[in-house]
């Protein structure tokens, strides 16, 4: 049985976090194909480029909300405006616990919120389980 490979669009500017997120996926035993955008512009272009019935449409959009202030929002808005992504879960991943940031993300089209703990094990557990749940792989 060939394992299911999940398509994930990751928008994250911190390489340390990219490695950690991949480690969290691996530690869950998930196979994945990652499209990684490092910049907001690249992310918006990628998001705008998806078309319906496009075999490349991701099954999960993961967006670091700690991108330079306000800019992560424009990626969310672009994703929400593309009908091809209507059914794709959009998760914001952040180390911020400020209710203000969470509310802002939810208001702009995020439908879940993943917290990045500082503790390694907590990170792998929290991020891994949330992603698995969003992919329906748990």
């Amino acid at each position: 049985v060939t394992p299911r490979v999940y398509r994930i669009l990751l928008i994250e500017d911190n390489p340390g976090d990219v490695v950690l997120i991949e480690e969290a996926l691996r530690s869950r035993g998930l196979s994945y194909r990652l499209t990684h955008c490092e910049t907001v512009d690249g992310a918006v272009r990628t998001v705008d480029g998806y078309r319906a019935n496009d075999g490349e449409i991701p099954e999960l959009l993961l967006l670091d909300y700690n991108l330079p202030r306000g800019e992560a929002r424009s990626v969310l808005i672009a994703a929400s405006n593309n009908p091809a992504l209507a059914r794709v879960p959009k998760a914001v991943i952040t180390s911020s616990v400020a209710p203000r940031d969470r509310d802002d993300a939810l208001k702009n089209g995020a439908d879940s919120f993943i917290y990045k703990p500082a503790d390694l094990d907590a990170f792998l557990d929290e991020v891994g389980s949330k992603i698995a749940s969003l992919l329906g792989a748990d």
């Binding site: 911190n14 976090d17 700690n66 180390s95 400020a98 503790d119 390694l120």
Partner: protein, 520 residues
């Protein structure tokens, strides 16, 4: 004196005794006639001077002033008319009444006599009563004139004194009737308005001070000095500011009003200067305030950005040092393990500090917290439940008197109680910690106190402890040094104040006071 003294003579006598004597000159070449005249006029009790010739009469007129001169017409040498002419020609005696005595009536004589200024003729033989009463009239006239002259002199002296007072006054002074017409002015007034004395007297004061009015009513008048700031006009038409005081007084001439006028040009200029300086100061304060507001806002943003942006690298250091420890753990020697642990500990500490700083900023920022009715008993119970672990670890007792319900922001009160109780547990002495919480109403405020039996605070630190990152103790006591700064920020937001009393080694009592009425 004769026994048949008439009522007139009595009056005359009375008059004579009442007043000082005046002089009467009797002129006749006949000594008997002179003596007879003297005898008749004696009852008038005036000073009678006798002259036997026109020349004698003239001589006496040089040195004396007479109420009347009785002059015999027919005399050898210089006759009465010639004498009268010469008497009249002298300034001093020009107006002295002359009565001619003559033996016969002739129209020619009469005309000549009246021409020479005679006031009357008496025909011989003299009837004593007529002579007496005629002379008495002149005596009376003379006296009245004297009296008038003295009164005039007295008035002049009074006016001189008055004028001296006016002149000595430091201000321009103008005296008007209630019609506003100037009756009197001092030289300062002349100079101030640019008029001569002659010009200013009789002017309407409104031509100098258009807004001048007599004091309006009794209360105004009796209050006397009423100071006003007005505008005045010089003769040249130039306007200038003045300050006046008016003071009314009743006089023989009716109500008079003294108006003292002070040139207020310098005062007005000084006021304008002060106003300009004040405006300049206000402008500078506003500028400085704007600068401070800007730099405060910049600092606030910097602190916010720092506390948020440093969070990510701190988290990375933390996570990766753990990963390193996990994956390389077995390969590291004990020194390397310690080094890695040091990295982890400091990353943890950095994170704690940043979290505290973010909390401080959150508490300090106005806005998103809501005022409501808060039961402090519940807040303290919540704070205690959050601290439960440390309370049982330290075998502490927390005692709480009944507390009020206040208009406040619950999260800030919770922060306050939790930080202050937490501090009491942290800075404990050898004994088991005992914390006592109370509240009392005082002067429109609620004063809450949190007393402990801990190590206390040295007096020199009392004023520093509410600052950010002010830690009095080293790493022996864990903490961020920001807890009390957060308390202060919270109390500031609640419009209150916070302070501490402590005897070093003998516990501390933290107080915070908040207005009973809620937000101000």
């Amino acid at each position: 004196m004769s026994s048949d003294v008439s009522p007139l003579s009595m009056q005359l006598t009375q008059l004579a005794t009442d007043c000082e004597q005046v002089k009467i000159l009797l002129v006749d070449d006949d000594r008997d006639n002179l003596l007879a005249l003297q005898a008749v006029l004696e009852p008038l009790r005036q000073e009678l001077m006798l002259a036997a010739s026109g020349l004698d009469a003239l001589r006496l007129c040089l040195d004396n002033e007479f109420a009347a001169i009785l002059l015999d017409v027919r005399m050898p040498g210089m006759d009465g008319f010639e004498a009268a002419e010469l008497i009249r020609s002298r300034k001093r005696s020009r107006h002295t009444p002359i009565l001619f005595l003559t033996g016969y009536r002739s129209d020619e004589q009469l005309f000549r006599g009246y021409d020479l200024g005679a006031v009357d003729f008496l025909f011989k033989p003299i009837v004593p009563e007529i002579l007496q009463s005629k002379v008495a009239v002149f005596v009376e006239l003379c006296r009245s004139e004297l009296l008038l002259r003295r009164q005039a002199e007295a008035l002049a002296r009074t006016e001189q004194k008055f004028r001296a007072v006016l002149e000595a006054a430091p201000d321009a002074m103008v005296i008007t009737g209630d019609d506003g017409i100037i009756r009197l002015a001092n030289s300062r007034a002349d100079a101030l308005f640019g008029y001569t004395r002659e010009e200013i007297i009789g002017l309407d004061i409104n031509s100098l001070i258009p807004e001048w009015k007599p004091p309006e009513d009794d209360s105004d008048a009796f209050s006397g000095l009423v100071e006003r700031r007005l505008s005045a006009t010089r003769k040249s038409g130039e306007s200038f500011p003045i300050q006046i005081t008016r003071s009314p007084f009743e006089s023989d001439e009716g109500l008079l009003i003294t108006t003292a006028i002070r040139d207020a040009t310098e005062q007005v200029e000084a006021e304008q200067r002060i106003r300009r300086i004040n405006q300049e100061l206000e402008r500078r304060v506003a500028e400085r305030t704007a600068d401070l507001t800007r730099s405060n806002e910049a600092l606030r943003q910097f602190a916010w950005a720092a506390s948020h942006d440093l969070q990510e690298p701190a988290r990375m250091v933390m996570t990766y040092s753990q990963w390193m420890a996990k994956s390389a753990g077995a390969k590291l020697d004990s020194q390397e393990t310690d080094m890695l642990k040091c990295v982890q500990d400091n990353a943890t500490r950095l994170q704690t500090l940043l979290a505290a700083l973010r909390q401080y900023i959150y508490i300090s920022e106005s806005g998103d917290q809501n005022w409501s009715s808060v039961d402090c008993n519940i807040v303290v119970r919540t704070a205690i439940s959050h601290l439960e672990g440390r309370i049982s670890e330290t075998s502490a007792t927390v005692e709480c008197d009944p507390l009020p319900t206040v208009q406040s922001i619950e999260i800030l009160l919770l922060q306050l109680f939790q930080n202050l109780i937490g501090n009491a547990l942290k800075y404990r002495s050898g004994e088991n910690p005992h914390v006592h919480i109370r509240a009392e109403a005082n002067n429109g405020s609620w004063i809450f106190s949190i007393r402990d039996n801990g190590i206390g605070i040295e007096p020199e630190y009392l004023e520093y402890i509410f600052g950010v990152f002010k830690r009095l103790h080293g790493r022996h006591y864990s903490g961020t040094g920001i807890g009390l700064a957060i308390c202060k920020a919270a109390v500031d937001r609640l419009g209150g104040r916070i302070w501490v009393e402590s005897n070093f080694g003998n516990g501390s009592t933290f107080y915070f006071a908040v207005p009973q009425g809620g937000p101000q």
